[in-house]
Amino acid sequence: MSANENARVAPLVGQHVQRGEDLRFATGQGRFVADHVSTTTLHAVFLRATQAAGQIRSIDTLAARDCPGVLAVLTGTDLAGTLAPIGALHEPNEAFVDAFSFQMADIAIPCLVTDRVHYVGEPVAVVVAESRAMAEDAAELIDVDYTPGTAVTTPQAALEPAAPRVHEHLPDNIAASLRGGFGDVPAASKGAAHRVTGRFRMGRHSGVPLECRGVVASWDPARGRVDVRTSTQVPHFVRTAICASTGWSVSEVHVSTPDVGGGFGPKANVYAEEVVIAYLARLLGREVAWLEDRAEHFVASAQGRDQHLDAELAVDSTGHIVSWSVEFLADVGAGSLWVAGITANTALHSVGAYRVPHFQVVGTAVYTNKTIVAQYRGAGRPEACFALERCLDMAAEAAGISRLEIRERNLLRAEELPKRLPLPYRDGVPITYDGADFRRCLRACEQRLPDDLLDTLRARYPGMYLGSGVATYVEATGRGPYESATVRLLADGTFEVGVGSACAGQSHETTFAQIAADALGVPMSAVRVRTGDTDAVADGIGSFASRSAVVGGSAVHRVCSQLRARARELVARCLGIEQDSEHEPTWSEVGRLLAPGGELAEQAPLSVTGTFEPPTVTWTMGAHLAVVGVAPETGIARVLHYVVAHEGGVEINPTVVLGQIRGGVAQGIGGILLEEFDYADDGQPATATFAEYLLPGSCDVPPVDVVHLPGPAQLNPIGVKGVGESGTIAVYAAVASAIEDALSCPAGTLTSTPVLPSTMLDIAESSVDASV
């Protein structure tokens, strides 16, 4: 279409475009789920299990029903037969299943438990009242009589033959298992010059969003459907789950997301509360809200990580990798709808960015009586990275070379890329690292650490022990199977774009608008983006797995390009005006011509809906470098400087990429130094408030220097790779390495996260003793 009205030549993709969301969020005009509650909305409160394991003998709800303002009190028994349990969200492709002998237990998560509880925080009953406070008053009066059971809280204990079973209908506590690899590890490692082994543990922690979860649902009698607003990353999955659980048809359920105050993976999950609230809205014919409070969030929102890994790395006398093997246990608590994805991610990212001739991995996901697990930014990858990078540090020491040198020698070089591994990805397609040169990320990191920086920092932090550490990662991004998008021309010449990738703060309104505006040849102001709404696009997958830019962005590009072509074809056919002619109408003229009464009113409106299905994932790689200071008197560590150099695709908006990397690093710092969901032996959560669960604040996160190195990205039309999770993956290993350097202790001393001040103080004092 003619560009006269919208004179713009330079593409928007690649520009530091200011986020369209910023004004709204910075001035308090964001509308989150709780902002959609009115004075007539009913409030639901879930009574949650106070025991980690046990039978429910009886539940007495009489007193609660009699409380003022209470409209309904329902237990699992009341809902049995009405609401079916929620099933798994991911099942891997057959080729993957065959290659890894992958097995998965048959598990579904009940909406409200009927007879047996599995973790503290599990929903047992629900109360609906005129206000949250009234509902809490009533919930307090519900009397649940438990026969306590024995809880298992570690995967090792859960795998003991005599261990109590978390789920009675299953033969054991194994949630999933896999085994795979290539080459012959036992034979190859036998003759290796150096073999280092490590037993690693990554503690349980997760994305703790600023906004907890929440659902507001109402029954629309005119349209005969339930409208569900929920703070989620996956509205279409939520709709599917509600339909599957209630038996309602897709046309009876509309799911949308308001502004979402952070997701990070725990909201890329479907929860019992979403199904129950939708059901209650229809049952009562009223608007019903459930707003998770922080105390609930600590026990009821899905958690992450929590893996134990036994690893052996064999290298030759010059430090070249001979073989690598990992055996891991993933503690998925009482269950995970994403168990297949998490275990597969750890297995598939274990090879890392290196030349590994022989590899094997054995993984087992295990049930315990702890809170359910979902993906958390990285989703199994940081664990794989931690084991490999820790072992590389140990092997470097064994081989007598530097930690940088061992990576330099083993990283895949430009001439070895793209690199195909003899393993299928989760989608069944053989893994191909579609990278350019993995060594240049490491070198870029080194270059960003000037020789005098450590001296400068030493002067600034006298009395601290300083050290630096490095780690690399690979990440498969942009997983399918598809994402869908839709675009239509409005009568005023502007466009509405709908995308299946819901937004939880990732700037989709801006980045998708940039892509759409470029494809349509219009300024961004002519594009309005709608995400997170099953009315905007009929089908969709959602935002997780570093996939939205790649798959959602490509879908936007595709439908917008098609719409532009269709418009030109229409103009040529009906008006006889050729493309780029000076008579070519503007978009607003086309809009008017197509409107009722217009010359083209008989023609089909200009609207395109379509999907993008990536052939497979596209891989990113990066190197992280951390400078850490440890206070010798307290063992408290601070990350003082941080560099990330990564190989990605086209940056749709470099400001947004920077924000993704920096936010990822911040969460990694939390994971390695501060955050852990801790449980007592009886399964009682020991971290139930922010006084125990420590998040990094602005004082704990240093400036992060980011070097973006463009790599090939040929698997999608816009040439992008995912970046949502890559900032987090290598932080754990880089910081652990830096702490060991600061404390001058042997490589591999630190094996678990978070690294506690008491551990660091012990090491600091013993190394002082040793030097005396």
Partner: protein, 287 residues
């Protein structure tokens, strides 16, 4: 996380507040609410009513007396941190306040609330105990009484305060002009409750010998822990004497502490607080 149903009163005078307190000993006084409201939201505290003393402007004043500052119980931490009078006359009080939580918390939390709450990891009770501040309390039955801060804190969240008594004023003695003070606090993140912390005050003779050295540890036992370095009196205040002293002083605490890590951090805090105090003390200027 909603509190259980509760009555609410907002008295207009201290006398009115005391009347309510006398008539309802299960009521709780609400000042800044930074500790009380959290435990009420968890329903761990279920007072019958809240007596919100936020209107009692008379308790939000500060007086500069000879040798002391008299501070109203409603003065918030942020005021103590930034008030030029406090910073000039009793700088350790401003320093203590600076380490409490974050600015939003310091804008709400009050001096009287912190003293009455008696969290063993809190800075203000520790400093009050070290300086043996006078804590003025009022009640209908007994009128005004004065407690000495060194004896006021009995255990975790437990003081000599009677249920019908309201903390109204705290008198902090100022330090002699030549006394040195030192403060150190270890926390995993800025604004967290201390793993351990210490205040020390050191006074020197003309030839830089110790006239008096005393300190308080907080976050370590169930109350502010006072230490008087009597055995060091008369010794030359060399920088290296404090480590040994701190370790010896801490030996007494081993049995009462929950962990070896906290013990080691506390010993380090104590030594550094003394080191700083001694370094800042001026030799016998007032002799």
């Amino acid at each position: 996380m909603k509190p259980a149903a509760i009555d609410y009163a907002r008295p207009a005078s201290v006398a009115d507040a005391l009347s309510i307190m006398e008539s309802d000993v299960e009521a709780k006084v609400l000042a800044g609410g930074q500790s009380l409201l959290a435990v009420m939201n968890f329903r761990l505290a279920r007072p019958t009513q809240l007596i919100d003393i936020g209107s009692l402007a008379e308790l939000n004043r500060i007086f500069d007396d000879d040798g002391s500052l008299l501070i109203g119980a409603l003065r918030c931490h942020r005021d103590l941190e930034t008030d030029p009078l406090v910073r000039d006359r009793l700088p350790p009080l401003a320093e203590a306040a600076r380490h409490i939580g974050h600015i939003a918390i310091r804008n709400r939390g009050t001096l009287g609330g912190s003293i009455a709450h008696a969290d063993p990891a809190a800075e203000l009770p520790a400093l009050a105990a070290l300086l043996d501040a006078e804590i003025y309390v009022d009640s209908r039955q007994r009128g005004r009484r004065v407690y000495h801060a060194a004896e006021f804190f009995e255990a975790r969240y437990t003081t000599l305060l009677e249920p019908d008594e309201l903390v109204t004023w705290i008198r902090f003695p100022t330090l002699p002009a030549d006394a040195g003070w030192g403060f150190t606090e270890a926390a995993r993140r800025h604004g967290d409750f201390a793993i351990a912390g210490a205040f020390a005050v050191v006074e020197l003779t003309g030839d830089r010998r110790l006239r008096r050295a005393r300190a308080v540890l907080f976050g370590v036992t169930d109350r502010p822990w006072l230490i008087e370095a009597v055995e060091l009196t008369g010794r030359v205040a060399a920088p290296d004497i404090w480590r040994e002293f701190a370790t010896a002083a801490m030996a007494e605490l081993v049995d009462t502490m929950e962990g070896a890590y906290r013990w080691r951090v506390a010993a380090g805090c104590l030594a550094r607080a003394f080191e700083r105090a001694a370094a800042n003390a001026r030799a016998g200027a007032h002799e």
